[in-house]
Symmetry: C2
Subunit: 243 residues, 2 copies
DNA sequence: AAGTGGTCTAGACCACGTT
DNA sequence: ACGTGGTCTAGACCACTTT
C-alpha cells in the first residue's frame, strides 16, 4: 500500500474523528509533510486523492478546506453490476431469464457493439428482483463471442458478471451509462406488476473490456424509487454513488 | 495556461486526428517528455488529466492505451445550472416564477441547508422552458441570506445563477445531485401540459459555496426524454455529461 | 509581507508487463 | 532482461490569499 494512500486514510480518520471539523482548514502541505515525515510531494498526492473524493476543497493561496465527512464511494463493479450493487447495499439480488435468443444485429447493435452488419447478437430479457420483489426489467444484447458464454449461464443466475469472470475470464473495465425516464410498456407492466404507463427510471449501459472493445449493451428499467443515482460534483471531482 | 494542460490538449488533438488510434499505445512518458521538451513529471501530469477524462487507460508496466476519442466533458456550472446547460447545448432557456414566498424552515430544510429550527427559507416554484417549450418544474428552497437577493431577481430571469453571481457575488463551487423517477402530480401536469401520472425524471440538487456551506436545495422534475444524464465510469475516472 | 497551493524540474528505486 | 508506469524525494519559482 503506497505511503500517500496511508496518509490519505489517516487524514480521513482524523476528519471523521472531529480533529478537522467541516468548514475548517487543514494544516499546510509543509506542516503535514513534517507531521508524517515525508516529502511535500507525497503529502500533495494524498491531498489530491481527498480532493478527488470530494472530501477537501483546494484554492490556490489558501489552505485546503474540509468539505465533509468521507462518504463511501462505490467501486466500478458496484456501479456496473446489478448483483454487486445489491450485495454491497445488504440486499439479496436474484433474477430469471424471461426470454433469450440469437438475432441478426440491428443497426443500433452495430453502432453500440461495433460489429459488422450481418453478424449475430445474443439477446436476453431478464427480470431482476431485490429480496424477491421485482424491481427491474433488463434487456441486454451481447456480442457473439460473449453470447457463446452467456447462453450456458444458468437461468436463475444472480450475477452474470461474476459468472462470466469465473467461467470465461471476462473482465469489464469501463462502462458508459445513460439515465432517463419512460412509461412502462405492456411487457414491463406485466413483469414488474405495475400499471401500464407507470413511471420507470431507464438505465442504458454499454460495457467495455480493458482494451476499449464493447462487450454488451443493455437497457434496464427500474420501478420508480427502486434506484437513485447520486453524483457529488465540483470542478475538481465527480463522485458517484447509488442507493 | 499551465504547460501540462497544453500538452494534454495537444495529445487530445493528435488522438482526434488519428495519430494514435483507439486501442493502440501511446509513446512512453520519457519519449513524450523529449518530444515536448519538458520534465517527465510534467508529461505525467498531462497524462493524468487524460486518464481522469477517460481518454487513456493506464496499467503499470505497459504503455498507456488510447480508450477513445476525446469527448467534451461538461463544466461544473453546465452541470448545475439549467440555463448554462441549455446555452452550451445551443438551446434557448427561459423561465417564469409561478410562486415565491418566505416560509418557516421545515425539518428537511434544516437538514439540507443546515439552518436552525425557526429560521426562514425562501421558496420559489419556477416553470422552465427550452425554446419556449415547457420541460421542467423547479422547486427551490434558498437560505435566508440568499433569499434576500433572489427575491429581487426578475420573474422572467433565465439564469438565476448568473444573476446571483453578478448582483451579489455569489459563486457556487460544489453540488450534490440525486436522480430518480416519479409520476407527475396535479400541479406538475398542469404546468408541463402532460397528463397526471406521466413519467418524470426527478433531479434533487443541493448547491454549496467554496467553504462547503449549503446555499440552496431544489427538486427539479423533467418531462421524460428532455434530460439524459450520462456517466462514463471506470475504476480511475467518472466523466459526467448531460444532453 | 508572509504564507500557501500550483507548477515544474531532475533525479531515484521498485513492481509489473512485455519480449 | 529490459522498458514502463507508480511512487517518492528535494529542491525551485510563481500566482494568489491572508494578515
Amino acid at each position: 500500500m503506497p505511503r500517500y494512500h496511508e496518509i490519505a486514510e489517516s487524514l480521513r480518520t482524523s476528519i471523521a474523528a472531529g480533529r478537522y471539523p467541516r468548514g475548517t482548514s487543514l494544516p499546510s502541505e509543509r506542516e503535514l509533510a513534517q507531521e508524517f515525515d515525508v516529502a511535500a510531494g507525497t503529502v500533495r498526492q494524498a491531498l489530491g486523492e481527498l480532493v478527488g473524493d470530494g472530501v477537501l476543497a483546494s484554492r490556490r493561496g489558501a489552505r485546503r478546506t474540509v468539505i465533509g465527512l468521507p462518504k463511501r464511494t462505490g467501486t466500478f463493479e458496484e456501479f456496473r453490476s446489478f448483483a454487486q450493487w445489491a450485495w454491497s447495499n445488504g440486499r439479496t439480488p436474484s433474477g430469471e431469464v424471461v426470454c433469450a435468443r440469437w438475432c441478426p444485429s440491428s443497426p443500433l447493435d452495430q453502432e453500440k457493439l461495433r460489429v459488422e452488419p450481418g453478424s449475430q447478437v445474443y439477446q436476453v430479457l431478464r427480470l431482476r428482483r431485490l429480496d424477491e420483489r421485482p424491481v427491474m426489467v433488463e434487456r441486454t444484447h451481447y456480442t457473439a463471442t460473449l453470447g457463446q458464454h452467456v447462453q450456458h449461464c444458468p437461468d436463475d443466475c444472480a450475477s452474470v458478471t461474476s459468472w462470466l469472470a469465473g467461467e470465461a475470464g471476462v473482465l469489464f473495465s469501463r462502462a458508459e451509462h445513460q439515465f432517463s425516464a419512460c412509461a412502462a410498456g405492456t411487457e414491463d407492466a406485466r413483469l414488474l406488476g405495475t400499471r401500464r404507463g407507470a413511471p420507470l427510471l431507464t438505465h442504458r449501459r454499454t460495457s467495455f473490456d480493458g482494451k476499449g472493445t464493447p462487450l454488451e449493451w443493455s437497457e434496464d428499467r427500474y420501478i420508480a424509487g427502486a434506484l437513485t443515482v447520486m453524483v457529488d460534483n465540483s470542478s475538481s471531482s465527480n463522485v458517484l454513488r447509488w442507493g
